[in-house]
């Protein structure tokens, strides 16, 4: 009876919440208060796939859902991105019958990395994807090792892990487990042997803390590593990006699946690879997955093409407090052969909580902007001074940098006869301050 009532209440709250445009975590929150073990009482489907990690969760989950649905599977997933236990509870109960049976083939859960231990106390994923561990929101998360410890608490023995073999800290979750499914990229054109970023989180072995060596780095600490002391090394992969041609916009998986890229970044290719891996594990044919993923444009609003006066541009949502996310966006802009202007907005550091901390700007490799493809650089928002200081520590000529605290003034500057493409790089917290001007 309690089960029935809790599900009913949750469904009703969800229904009315949707009508008035409320978020998706409140119904779950109330359901959990009413029946704390509700998630233990429901009957879950055959596949429960969880995805966590610092970056790429939302995109990976969206692509997995897309493939599965295209192939006739029914999928329940948290597409609104409420990824803590309350949001997951709403997701589960909204897709449940009143007797507590989940009405889908696959339950697909994006989980916040620090709160996964609470969610998965009640739900045991059959498969658990861990994408990567980066410096991300350090003001809340502490540091990647702290987050790794929190994720470790969420992993159960009878879950099959799907791990990024190229991330040494993520791969550590696979120690002592023999059924891990590994994904990663072969040595690629454009790889380096040394770290080219502003810091190196791959300098020391996560296991024994002695020096680590890379034979190949795709970016940051992602690549082919081996510890010089304990021998900890990158695992061979089951699902592999075997070659990439970013100019042509092509990624090849397992030597035969050619996927055409809507977003030409390596970063995006890892999300594609993770989605490919999960879909394969569920039993979807590789050719079908290739078809579904080719030229797939995300619907999650992270990339928005726009027109500004006579000019064209793209807004790339990087995450504030996440240098790798910025690095990837900057790299994409810097590869614009036709020339581009690049605008940065840092106005509110976070949309969820207050902080005035901009330390993370110093972890971003702004030096990549010092190239022929990038013409003007526009710095805007409340923290434009901090951006200006940061860029003064690069070799970018001062004359190429324009600073406007007011985002509208930056917009007006861009609204001119210049012919360059525009890249606007900013966070969820700030993107609408720009998009609303268009």
């Amino acid at each position: 009876m309690k089960l029935f009532l809790t599900i009913l209440i949750c469904k009703l709250l969800r229904f009315f919440g949707k009508l008035i445009g409320k978020g998706s975590s409140l119904p779950g929150k109330i359901a959990l208060r009413f029946c704390p073990d509700i998630l233990d009482r429901v009957t879950l489907p055959q596949y429960i796939i969880a995805v966590t990690g610092s970056n790429g969760k939302t995109s990976t989950v969206e692509m997995i859902a897309h493939i599965l649905i295209e192939n006739g599977k029914t999928v329940a997933w948290n597409k609104e991105g409420s990824n803590q236990i309350e949001g997951v509870t709403t997701l589960v109960l909204a897709n449940s019958t009143l007797t507590g049976k989940i009405k889908c083939d696959i339950l697909l859960i994006e989980s916040d990395e620090r709160f996964a231990r609470y969610t998965f106390k009640h739900i045991t994923p059959t498969h658990y994807v861990i994408t990567n561990l980066y410096r991300d929101q350090l003001t809340r998360n502490g540091h990647p090792e702290w987050v790794a410890d929190a994720i470790a608490d969420s992993i159960k023995d009878n879950t099959r892990l799907i791990l990024n073999a190229d991330d040494p800290l993520v791969s550590l979750f696979g120690e002592g487990r023999d059924d891990v499914i590994w994904f990663g990229a072969d040595k690629l054109e454009g790889d380096t042997e040394i770290c080219t970023g502003k810091y190196d989180d791959g300098a020391y072995c996560p296991k024994c803390k002695k020096f680590m060596r890379y034979s190949s780095r795709h970016y940051a600490h992602i690549g082919h590593y081996k510890c010089t002391s304990c021998g900890y090394e990158r695992h061979d992969t089951d699902y592999t990006v075997t070659s990439v041609d970013l100019d042509k916009g092509l990624a090849v998986i397992n030597g035969k699946y050619n996927i055409s890229l809507a977003l030409k970044s390596l970063y995006n290719i890892y999300n594609i690879l993770a989605a490919f891996t999960v879909a394969s594990v569920v039993g979807i044919d590789g050719d079908k997955i290739t078809e579904n993923l080719s030229d797939y444009v995300m619907k999650n609003g992270r990339v928005v093409n726009f027109t500004l006066g006579k000019r064209h541009g793209t807004l790339l949502t990087a995450k504030h407090e996440n240098s790798i996310s910025y690095d990837q966006s900057i790299k994409l802009a810097a590869s614009e052969k036709g020339g581009c202007d690049v605008m940065f907005i840092v106005d509110a550091v976070s949309r969820k909580y207050f902080t005035s901390d901009v330390s993370w700007l110093w972890d971003i490799n702004f030096d990549m902007l010092n190239c022929d493809n990038v013409h003007k650089i526009i710095l805007s928002g409340k923290y434009c001074n901090d951006l200006a200081v940061r860029l003064s520590y690069t070799d970018i000529p001062e004359s190429n940098i324009k600073i406007f605290e007011d985002i509208k003034m930056a917009y007006d500057f861009l609204n001119c006869d210049r012919e360059e493409y525009i890249y606007t790089i900013t966070c969820f917290s700030d993107k609408n301050k720009f998009l609303s001007l268009l």
Partner: protein, 239 residues
């Protein structure tokens, strides 16, 4: 002048490498020739040769690994501090100076014993806060962020009064440690970039009274500082 960034590749969270860049720039802008060395695990630094030393913060695991290496400098570091050498330690790096660090599993790590405080870590919750800190040597408060999982007890000579943020432990309204010209604080990140007046103060200590420090180029730095101070002051009022 010689600057040293010690454990640059393992104690370097939160963009902290920029602290050494900021010091290098202000000295060069003041007409002083500078050489910066970046040394780490297994290296042997002659601390006495340096005019400024910086160590940043690390993960709890990295801090313990570094402590094992850092202890070899106990005697030379003590004489560096005694002669008034300037050293900045941010985040959990200054915890190594105390008597003992007890980690979340109750394992004890012997500190350098340069100061007689003790440190207790936990692994349940990060203690974090934006911060406004007041030092007795300046009328300009420091701004920044504190991010830790430890409590420090028994600091005899703290560095700051906490106006907003976190003290050395949850019952303490004082933060950090000062011994001569050693500055230890749990503020993390490029604090010398974010706090141009503190940069000026420490640069003056390094060069002495006879040399004038150039601060004319610090326009954006000062504007950025004022914006953050103003934002954090609003936060303070609301608390």
């Amino acid at each position: 002048m010689k600057l040293l960034h010690l454990y640059y590749d393992i104690m370097n969270l939160y963009g902290e490498y920029a602290n050494i860049s900021a010091m290098e720039r202000i000295l060069i802008k003041s007409g002083i020739e500078c050489q910066t060395d970046r040394l780490s695990m297994g290296d042997n630094a002659e601390l006495s040769e340096y005019d400024f030393i910086y160590i940043g913060s690390g993960t709890e695991k990295n801090q313990k690994v570094v402590l094992g290496d850092f202890c070899k400098y106990t005697v030379t570091l003590k004489s560096y501090i005694d002669r008034g050498g300037v050293i900045l330690m941010t985040g959990n790096s200054f915890e190594m100076l105390g008597e003992i660090i007890t980690d979340a599993n109750d394992t004890e790590y012997e500190g350098m014993g340069i100061a007689d405080f003790s440190v207790k870590e936990q692994n349940k919750k990060r203690t974090t806060s934006d911060a406004i800190l007041k030092a007795d040597f300046s009328d300009k408060e420091l701004v920044g962020f504190i991010n830790k999982c430890s409590e420090i007890y028994g600091v005899a000579t703290p560095l700051f009064d906490v106006l907003l943020g976190l003290g050395n432990n949850s019952d303490d309204s004082k933060e950090g440690i000062r011994i001569n010209n050693l500055f230890g604080t749990h503020l993390t990140g490029p604090i010398l970039i974010k706090n141009p007046y503190f940069l000026e103060y420490t640069a003056n200590l390094i060069v002495g009274e006879k040399t004038e420090i150039n601060t004319k180029y610090l326009g954006f730095e000062k504007n950025g500082y004022e914006v953050t101070l103003s934002e954090l002051s609003k936060l303070r009022k609301n608390m």
